[in-house]
């Protein structure tokens, strides 16, 4: 297709088309160099986001792979993750270097033509401020979701006769951590999450609620205990020990995740409507920003499409991505469709489902917890002359109450009925060691199965 044809394609009878001519063509240049550089810098900025997304998606593919063979492929997994991270680094360097080179060119040109450039509105400012607004709105949504989720936890605690306090929405922010979807830090009392997922937020907020010393403003927890939340506590390393001791972490995470799952499932239907009720503007603002960004993307498409088509014609991408050879109209329609569907999926009505995306963790730890609860319930049936179902219900409620009140005295019941070494053994099994690659998944799994076997006998 000739460049004249491509111009006609963009004409809709209302607006004058924006056309980028290529170097080497005989046509005159219709776009000023500084504006062109700014557009490229804008595109590189977007490329950064896309590149990050590629990395996250590749890592997610590996991390989310449900396999029973990961232990056998332990080193392959480690190697694949390292290689992906290494390539991510290469991409960042590449984009940063290109940005620097373009900025230098821009400066060079602006120095000569400054009076003229000052009269030109910068197109990149629009995009920058739009991204900032999006970021602010995302934070606002996170904080509303955190407040709504904590209300659900409060209601659940109230049904158990426990009153909990605190405002986690003031302490929550995002993390860039690839490995953890969320984390609560007992020292700083902060919650960090990867995305706006109600399930993850409820899990971390339970740690926040269970940190009763933080909630009640108690600073001093004894000479050697550094922090405590629910049944877990961190103790200062003894002489000769390299790390502080994270005691009862596995039990604590299992109780937290089991409780989080129940609270989330019981309230799934009302979470989004409660978020909208709490901040009715969120949906409207989100959709307005999406429309603005879509308009910018479509305008940008007009600038880069002739360029992309030329690349297609040179078969660069056809060989790499096995794309069919497209006409200019087909390519334009395809690109427009991509933009339409990308931004449709970002409209609040569609995107809000992210909040309900369920992420289940600590499945093995919950299996151990269930075995402990079963043993306790069986003992309770005989002690109180009640049915096994009633005993299971009462036992689980007692355990949650003790967790939310930080009453570790409850654990003596486990030692007495299930066995004196169970808590120590459970504490020694730590999923973190697998994540940090200090232990293989196979050895961790074996320890879990052995412990469940001992509890059941």
């Amino acid at each position: 297709m000739t460049s004249e044809k491509s111009q006609n394609f963009f004409k809709d009878g209302k607006e004058k088309p924006i056309v980028t001519k290529f170097s080497g063509e005989k046509n005159e240049i219709t776009e000023s160099l500084p504006v062109k550089i700014e557009n490229y810098l804008n595109s590189l900025n977007k490329l950064k986001d896309e590149s990050r997304l590629d990395t996250t998606e590749a890592l997610d593919l590996i991390m989310d792979s449900k396999d029973d063979h990961s232990s056998a492929l332990f080193y392959e997994k480690k190697e694949a993750i390292n290689e992906i991270k290494k390539l991510d680094g290469e991409k960042i360097v590449l984009i940063t270097d290109s940005e620097k080179a373009l900025q230098d060119k821009h400066k060079e040109y602006v120095d000569i033509k400054k009076p003229w450039l000052d009269a030109e509105p910068s197109k990149s400012i629009d995009y920058e401020s739009l991204m900032q607004e999006k970021e602010i709105l995302k934070y606002r949504e996170l904080k509303v979701l955190a407040a709504v989720s904590y209300k659900k936890i409060k209601d659940h605690a109230a049904s158990l006769g426990v009153e909990i306090s605190g405002l986690p929405e003031e302490k929550i922010s995002y993390t860039g951590d690839y490995l953890n979807s969320g984390v609560y830090n007992t020292d700083s009392d902060d919650i960090k999450v990867k995305s706006n997922s109600a399930k993850v937020i409820i899990h971390e907020e339970l740690h926040f609620a269970g940190a009763v010393d933080n909630r009640e403003g108690r600073k001093h927890m004894g000479e050697n205990r550094l922090s405590k939340s629910g049944f877990g506590s961190v103790w200062k390393a003894k002489e000769g020990e390299a790390k502080n001791r994270d005691l009862l972490r596995s039990l604590n995470e299992a109780v937290t995740e089991k409780m989080a799952g129940e609270i989330f499932n019981n309230n799934k239907e009302s979470i989004i409507s409660d978020v909208i009720k709490a901040d009715p503007e969120i949906a409207k603002l989100n959709d307005e920003l999406v429309e603005k960004e879509k308009a910018l993307a479509l305008a940008n498409l007009e600038r880069y499409l002739p360029d992309k088509y030329k690349t297609f014609q040179e078969n660069v991408f056809i060989q790499k991505f096995e794309m069919e050879k497209l006409s200019f109209e087909e390519l334009a329609a395809e690109e427009k469709q991509k933009i339409e569907s990308k931004f449709n999926s970002e409209m609040f009505d569609v995107r809000n489902q992210e909040m309900l995306r369920e992420k289940n963790g600590y499945n093995n730890e919950i299996r151990v917890l269930d075995a402990i609860l079963e043993k306790l319930s069986q003992a309770r049936t005989g002690q109180e002359n009640i049915s096994l179902d009633e005993a299971r219900n009462k036992e689980w409620q007692d355990m949650q109450r003790a967790y939310l009140r930080g009453e570790t005295i409850y654990l003596r019941r486990i030692e007495k009925i299930v066995g004196p070494n169970v808590l120590r053994e459970f504490s020694a099994i730590d999923l973190k060691k697998v994540k940090r690659e200090e232990e293989t998944a196979e050895s961790y799994q074996k320890k879990i199965n052995d412990l469940i076997g001992r509890i059941n006998n």
């Binding site: 170097s23 593919l61 492929l73 991409k91």
Partner: protein
């Protein structure tokens, strides 16, 4: 005009090179992830074969 065209080509090249190489590296990342997933699938098949041959 020739000078203008040269500058155009220079900045086109910087951008194109970044875009193509980043796309290429992203593609390689995906290939690594997929190759790992294929290994898992192959392992499953091998395990099943072994199980069948024993039974």
């Amino acid at each position: 005009m020739t000078k203008e065209l040269d500058k155009n080509k220079e900045i086109d090249d910087i951008y194109q090179k970044a875009r193509e190489e980043v796309a290429d590296l992203g593609f390689r990342q995906r290939e690594i992830a997929i190759s790992y997933l294929k290994k898992i699938e192959q392992k499953k098949i091998n395990d099943l074969r072994e199980l069948l041959s024993k039974s």
